[in-house]
Symmetry: C2
Subunit: 131 residues, 2 copies
DNA sequence: GTTCGTGCAAACGGTTTGCAACAAT
DNA sequence: ATTGTTGCAAACCGTTTGCACGAAC
């Protein structure tokens, strides 16, 4: 349950936070703050943008979300906090997750004088018409 | 020469554009617009931020620069427009280029239903003390 | 003289913050 | 009582734009 997930992360599950969590932690669409606001605002018309921003920041600090900088105009949020890659559809702007095992990245360890703690592949292109 | 590079790209080489070009096209530091402004402003105190932003936009359209979205707070610019990867130093925030051939990325073609037109690896970590 | 480039100031848009009211412990 | 949370409005900051002046063709 979402409430337990918040409590486990050390977050008090208020009504606003639950509404935000239910949308953003279950989304695969990598929403931005204003998209979260719009979605939550429908069911919770009194919520403010400040609460949305505060909550997204809190969720990020508590490792329930990761910020992505794949769009040039706004930060988007990813509830998939495990290692994975990203595909950016250049036609629609949509971001799709690519599972970690689908791509091999080799010779990272050979980079001299760099301790690589993390990495990801960012792909750009378009979805193919599936036959 | 820088002026010829601008002309070749179809850009009239004004004094302001030359000053900006000399700084940003030769930089390996991935500067942001305000860093470009500060640097150029020293030698060219009458320049405006509008001109810097307009010029960086123009250079980007003319393929002399690429915008990078590796920092969470601002756009940075890369005069290296050939394929390469990026290493983000998590201590200093500095961005370093990784030459294309230093890393192998495999099985991109196997991704079903995706036409990958471009990709890059983004690495995060710290520089090792070299012995 | 018409197009292009510059610089100032204002506007814009995403995000953060100050603060007063309120809820939870 | 004290601490944490919300929502409003204002502030903030990187970036863009409107516009008038001037330069280049």
């Amino acid at each position: 349950m979402i409430a337990e997930q918040l409590i486990t992360a050390g977050i008090r599950p208020t009504a606003q936070r639950l509404a935000i969590a239910e949308f953003v932690l279950r989304s695969t669409a990598h929403p931005s703050a204003d998209e979260v606001f719009d979605a939550v605002n429908e069911k919770f018309p009194t919520i403010s943008t400040a609460t949305v921003y505060n909550t997204l920041k809190l969720f990020t600090e508590k490792q329930l979300l990761k910020q992505l900088h794949l769009r040039d105009d706004r930060i988007i949020y990813d509830p998939n906090v495990t290692r994975h890659h990203h595909f950016v559809d250049v036609e629609t702007g949509e971001i799709h997750d690519i599972e970690w095992g689908a791509i091999d990245v080799c010779r990272i360890q050979e980079l001299s004088n760099l301790d690589v703690e993390d990495y990801e592949v960012v792909l750009r292109g378009r979805r193919r018409e599936s036959e």
